[in-house]
Symmetry: D2
Subunit: 101 residues, 4 copies
């Protein structure tokens, strides 16, 4: 199943600066062969179900191994059976609508 | 890895009444041996990583099979390495704090 | 506008134990006259738009005042114009579906 | 209070194609003077608390007026008191970490 997701992982118990943990997750997601796009409140991910969820599990394991005793993640993910859709498609169909009026 | 999660699955393209889809997901989660608790904006789930994510995959497959061409899910999930914690623990530690003053 | 919401507020930079912060938010939401229901991964809230968002703003202010330098909140909220619906309605329509087969 | 948020609004009961609704929300957010950045699973927003939540209320009102009987929104939002931070800061501190090794 093809998935477009948005990952926002928050390590707790490691202070307020969390960017080193997020950077490590980016590396894991990229190494898993997933298409990713970092934004200001998370990371868009595109790929197959198993690859995505296996990579996110590795992110949790790694962030714990880096010293975070607790993690709270918010993940949005969408699947569709009516047609294929990429992350670029989603952005461009909104942009197209923005230009139509 | 032990996980406490909160699942909110939204089928698109099937009108405004989505409770039959959610009920089917509850059955899948329960059949997977997971501890679940339905609330007004989602379902709390407690269990092991693989069991939870495999069951959620089956939810997406089933909701598509029921006729929903598109699904958008918001999932929160937490893991911790400092101590074991159940869903009841989380609620009771807030309740305990509420009673302390 | 009538709203059913689900609030999950995470204070950062205050360690792993966050229940005292959440308990304080419960007090603020209750004092605002909102109907709330605590669960294992957040708090369901029902009320009018302005009352809900004003109360959530007070939660952020209070949690910062309690010492949290950073807060990340995930909020789900729903509105509908087709019919009135309470938190109990949402839960009972899923339960009703669970019993139908 | 300065806020960085991530908005994902889902209209229900209007079929699977929702980009015209999202495009209308982008217009409302921009007209409110907010800094926004569309991505594949939502829209980053930066601005002051009242401006952001007032604009999101207008989004719900507009999407209902366009014909959606039901809306479910997932909103993440963060505030911090330790230092000022923009959306660009958040992205660049992760990028900086990615390059450090």
């Amino acid at each position: 199943m093809h998935v477009i997701a948005d990952l926002c992982l928050i390590p707790l118990g490691v202070g307020v600066s969390v960017s080193s943990y997020i950077a490590e997750c980016e590396r894991i997601l990229t190494a898993a062969g997933l298409k990713i796009e970092l934004h200001a409140y998370g990371t868009n991910i595109e790929g197959e179900w198993d690859a995505i969820f296996k990579a996110i599990e590795r992110c949790h394991e790694k962030v714990h191994a880096m010293g975070a005793p607790r993690i709270s993640t918010t993940l949005k993910f969408g699947t569709r059976t009516d047609r294929a859709q990429t992350m670029e498609d989603k952005v461009s169909s909104v942009r197209k609508n923005l230009c139509e009026e």
